[in-house]
């Protein structure tokens, strides 16, 4: 396409336009460039981010027809006029809210239907190299980390909901039922809850429980202890006593929630946590990259997206090869 102005369209110009810094020639060149559908699509991804960062400053729709009527009226006699675009914007907002509500309802319905149509037939779930999400008969969920084993009944008929965890690591999200406590039996200790979310790790003869939400009771034949959100309980090997810490590493259960939070964390920790949560490994092209520190919140990001973000934040580049991501670049001093 021939253009009236010989101006190259780069990311910087698009951003300059959005930021209201473009001169009239640049604006025209950009608008010409936008007549091509693929350019428009690209522009819109950037524009969407720009608008998301400041939702109140979104441009409303423009009604040329309406505007012409106004101007046309003015071109005859000279009358003062006032704008009615504000009312128009309000209608648009209401439509938007209604649409988003509708989508939420539909999504919830879909999840509900899916949860209810999942047939649970097997009673023992075993994982090796991959993770598994299990819907228990009471709609509680269990996410099994690698090399884990969980046994549960097809229906919870008794007075309690009881499951057996033999080894590995499982993140439980237990639905609330005050009448029927939920009990996890392990060879080291038992864990009793009413309704909460927490992580259980059984490694050899050590057991560790960290609580995300609610309240959990751990008990052995020697000792028992209540843990609330943000606490970790460790059952000492052999002795059956419970050691309680007033902290949790929320990234421990990142494999179940895909939510990872880093606050000025050394990259080594970041990589360990990501490798646990995602089925990929990460290598570094340069030792200095290990010196970098990261502050970031990842919530349900794809591994690819997450690594691109880290790279962009730390001025690195990322190469993907099968299940291995390599970070390259100068790194940090």
């Amino acid at each position: 396409m021939k253009r009236e102005y010989d101006i190259e369209i780069k990311d910087e110009l698009i951003v300059r336009y959005l930021a209201g810094e473009a001169g009239p020639e640049e604006a025209m060149a950009l608008q010409d460039w936008l007549t091509l559908a693929e350019n428009k699509a690209y522009f819109e991804t950037i524009q969407r981010t720009w608008e998301q960062a400041h939702p109140s400053k979104t441009a409303g729709a423009i009604d040329t027809q309406q505007a012409w009527k106004k101007v046309n009226l003015q071109t005859e006699p000279a009358v003062m006029w006032k704008n009615s675009a504000a009312a128009h914007n309000r209608t648009k907002l209401i439509v938007r809210i209604a649409a988003s509500l509708l989508i939420t309802v539909l999504a919830t319905l879909l999840i509900y239907i899916r949860m209810h149509t999942t047939e649970i037939e097997s009673i023992a779930v075993v994982t090796a190299d991959s993770l598994k999400n299990v819907n228990l008969p009471d709609n509680s969920t269990a996410t099994l980390y690698r090399n884990s084993r969980l046994i549960y009944p097809a229906t919870f008929d008794g007075k309690q909901r009881e499951v057996n965890m033999e080894q590995g690591e499982v993140f439980f999200s237990v639905t609330h039922d005050g009448e029927k406590p939920f009990i996890i039996h392990t060879s080291i200790a038992d864990i009793r809850v009413v309704g909460t979310a927490f992580n259980v790790m059984v490694q050899g003869d050590q057991l560790e429980v960290s609580v995300k939400e609610g309240k959990v009771l751990i008990y052995t034949s020697q000792d028992s202890s209540y843990l609330t959100a943000g606490f970790t309980g460790i059952v000492q090997p052999g002795m059956g006593t419970i050691h309680v810490k007033d902290s949790v590493n929320a990234n421990t259960w990142g494999y179940a929630t895909h939510r990872l939070i880093f606050k000025d964390a050394p990259l080594e920790t970041v990589i360990t946590d990501i490798e646990k949560a995602y089925p990929y490994s990460i290598t570094l092209g340069n030792r200095n990259i290990n010196n970098c520190r990261l502050t970031a919140t990842f919530d349900n990001d794809s591994a690819e997206n997450l690594l691109n973000l880290i790279a962009e934040t730390l001025n690195l580049s990322v190469v993907k090869n099968g299940t291995v991501f390599t970070l390259e670049g100068e790194g940090c001093p």
Binding site: M1, A19, D32, A296
Partner: protein, 196 residues
């Protein structure tokens, strides 16, 4: 002089470059309302969008574009346009915007002197618009330091590139790069969970 409507519109959407602009201008000078209307329909939306980027207020943007068209019509007989009609319109609204911005700055200064003299903080912009969702706040807060400062000054304090450059004593080029970088990071961060 008979005009083909569709043709005119296409011209102004940038699909054709050879403009019979002198004819358009001549027609408007002679008071041809139909041609004037066609130019209006072809350019109005694009002009509003452009003005909106500068003023960040669509009501104001529409006001400016409408009154500019009115002015063109009122002064049609003296219309002396060397470039294309479209260029003329874009430049005219651009100058109008710059005027408007200067107006705002003056108003703001009066207000500042009156109430919060010298309390204006430059280094660390902290104030987010209230309605901003938590995940966007987090994403913006986690941008690399300089990137975040510049992005916030541009997006939330609504400062112009030149003003930011002056306050931070850096080049406009750096600002462009940092804001583009911020958008790249935010786009990646927000990609997997779009809000409607």
């Amino acid at each position: 002089m008979k005009k083909n409507k569709i043709d005119l519109v296409n011209i102004y959407k940038g699909e054709k470059v050879q403009l019979p602009d002198q004819e358009i201008i001549k027609a408007i000078r002679q008071g041809d309302k139909e041609v004037f209307e066609q130019v209006f329909h072809a350019c109005y939306e694009n002009l509003c969008q452009y003005v909106f980027t500068i003023l960040r207020d669509m009501d104001e943007a529409e006001d400016i574009v409408q009154s500019m068209f009115l002015k063109v019509w009122e002064k049609r007989e003296e219309l002396n346009i060397q470039q294309s009609m479209r260029s003329y319109l874009f430049r005219a609204v651009y100058h109008q915007c710059i005027n408007q911005l200067e107006h705002r700055t003056i108003k703001l200064k009066h207000r500042e002197y009156g109430v919060y003299e010298g309390q204006y903080k430059v280094q660390q912009p902290e104030v987010f618009p209230e309605e901003l969702s938590e995940n966007i706040r987090t994403a913006v807060n986690e941008l690399p330091q300089q990137c975040r400062t510049i992005f916030m000054m541009s997006r939330y304090e609504e400062l112009r590139y030149a003003e930011i450059a002056q306050k931070l004593n850096i080049s406009v080029n750096t600002i462009e790069n940092q804001i583009s970088k911020a958008l790249r990071i935010l786009r990646l961060k927000l990609k997997d969970h779009f809000i409607l």
